[in-house]
């Protein structure tokens, strides 16, 4: 029995699932109708649906962040700004007309995603080829990205008036589930399949654990790191397109604001070490949903969007502190002392 419990608590998914359950239980106590799902106009409504819906962008960002963290032991803090760049490109190319887009819809979206990929290439180039610490390298786009988005939008908020632009961020006709959820599931599935059925997943872990050893066994370490950054850029682009579709506009100052912290938090909460190496996509996905549940419940408690980061910052520090090797050492020392004392007593 105790072995079984140990097996469960040792599992990587233990922490994120417990955290998610805690947040959900807290919400049920506060609002008894929390799990109620109603159908209005053929679509599903409810707190849970709302959380899963809003979590989609974060799930996508967290997937990109997970591979980056795993391969390079550093985080990409430019994801929010890159999302804004993509959103700006999409809105700029589709144009504000009510009747027709300036360019076909798919072309506009592809251009936006291409923007995200280009940002990823820039980050990847600095990190993988120039060997600059990931966070300093991505700091450049973190500050410049919003400036670039502003320049594309010419300092204004571009609205896309054509109504089917909203479909990506809301409901497809006749489908009860929100569209972003499908996009998120698709991204997760493709990533999972890619890492599971090719050797890529193993390569990323090998590079993350020890890039020199990885190189010695014949893995092109810098290429792997480069690819993960490009993938992260693509993920940021996808979530940027969803974000802008939700509001049918591009607000360069606010799209994806503070999402970098959420994405890092999701990865850390998912039990992934921020030191690189082993990773679990499922952990990050559950982590992202937990963060969104937390955000939604904080909003329900009258916390404004500006004040939100304060709570998340505290949670990040606590999680990372618990994960840190120094803390573990201290904890195991404490345990050992306890055991010795107990032995002496008996």
């Amino acid at each position: 029995m105790s072995k079984f419990i140990q097996k469960i608590t040792r599992s990587q998914l233990f922490l994120p699932i417990v955290a998610l359950i805690l947040v959900l239980v807290f919400n049920v106590i506060k609002t008894p109708t929390f799990f109620k799902i109603t159908i209005m106009n053929g679509t599903l409504y409810g707190f849970i649906i709302d959380i899963i819906n809003r979590a989609s962008e974060l799930v996508i960002l967290a997937i990109g962040m997970t591979v980056v963290v795993a391969s390079s032991a550093g985080t990409d803090i430019s994801v929010g700004a890159v999302a804004a760049v993509s959103a700006a490109i999409i809105c700029y190319s589709l144009g504000p007309s009510q009747e027709a887009y300036q360019v076909p819809y798919l072309v506009g979206i592809s251009l936006g995603l291409l923007g995200g990929v280009l940002c990823g290439i820039w980050n990847g180039f600095l990190v993988a080829k120039m060997k600059i610490q990931p966070m300093v390298a991505t700091l450049i786009l973190y500050t410049a990205g919003r400036g670039i988005a502003q320049l594309i939008c010419a300092g204004q908020i571009i609205h896309v008036e054509k109504t089917d632009y909203r479909l990506l961020g809301s409901f497809l006709p006749g489908v009860p589930f929100p569209t972003p959820v499908f996009v998120a599931i698709l991204v997760v599935f493709i990533t999972w399949a890619m890492l599971r059925y090719t050797a890529l997943g193993m390569y990323i872990q090998a590079v993350g654990i020890n890039s020199k050893a990885g190189r010695l066994v014949g893995i092109n370490s810098s290429m792997i790191i480069f690819l993960t950054y490009i993938y992260c850029g693509l993920c940021s682009g996808i979530s940027g397109s969803i974000m802008s579709s939700r509001i049918a506009a591009c607000d360069a100052n606010n799209i994806g604001l503070n999402y970098e912290l959420d994405a890092i938090l999701a990865v850390a909460l998912g039990g992934n070490s921020l030191g690189g190496g082993k990773f679990s996509l499922a952990g990050s996905v559950i982590g992202a949903i937990t963060i969104q549940a937390l955000t939604t419940s904080l909003y329900a408690m009258q916390v404004t969007a500006d004040q939100l980061p304060i709570y998340k910052a505290i949670v990040v520090v606590i999680i990372v502190a618990i994960q840190s090797s120094e803390f573990k050492k201290w904890f195991s020392n404490l345990k050992r002392k306890h055991a010795i004392k107990a032995e002496a007593a008996s």
Partner: protein, 340 residues
Amino acid sequence: MIKFFKERIDEKTYLLLITILMFIVMYGAGMIIFADKGFAKPQMFFNLFINNAGLIVTAVGMTMVMITGGIDISVGSVVGLTCMMLAYMMEFMKIPAGLAMAVVLVYGILFGCVQGFLVAYLKIQPFIVTLAGMFFCRGLTAVINSEMINISNAVFLKIAQFKIYFPFLATLNKKGKLITPFIYPSVIIAFVVLILIYIMLKYTKFGRAIYAVGGSEQSALLMGLNVRTTKMKTYIFNGFLASLGGILFCLNTCAGFVEQARGFEMEAIASSVIGGTLLTGGVGNVIGSLFGVLIKGTIESFITTQGTLSSWWTRIVISLLLAFFIVLQSIFASIKAKNK
């Protein structure tokens, strides 16, 4: 002659020389291009210092942290929080200016203690700790007040607007009126801090320990230096300097609001890096950081004097410049590795 230089100039001074040369070339170019817009006047030069006094102090703190091999991206939001705290305390709680400043400085020290503890004793990556710190301070600013507060405290405004004139640099303007260039007390404070930290880094035990820890933690440990306390002290110093920088920044703007000083951390990091501080630690000089700040200030005055470009360009150009210098550092490092 060339041999003489080759012997004396290593990679550290090389980066610093590039920076100083770059500043002189940029400012000189500005004097020629914008001659009609007053770029050559002494006041324009002093404005560089007046506008960036806070940044000088913050960049000095950042340089110290970067020499230990760490980084602090929370300084921007500490500056924002400092302004908000000052404004709130003086306007809504009617606390005298001196006490309000003392409270802010104590907060900076405490904040530095927490960050230093997490980095030095729990060995968490500095970037993660200070990223959390950045969001924490930004959130706290919003908790204090989400509106813009203008400061009207008489003592504070008096300090902010006290002009120190330089009569010997006086020039006549187009209408024949005598214009005497001036600076504000914040510039003097910034320079005092700069000189004190320069002396500390160069001639005190603690200062040398900072370089040793950044150069190689392992060797510093073997030499018998207390690596943890050195790092911790550096972060405390940085917290103090960031809030002092915030006060100087506030003396310049005389207001507090949530979005204030966003991206300030980037400017501080860029100034340090442009000034020759290596991201890998162990190498750096506060004089270089001063020139980094001046280069940033020159770019800013280019963009404001030019008039048609949006202020977003400042950030983009600074970011590009940072990227350029980082790449330069990385090239130097790889050349050095090859020579070994």
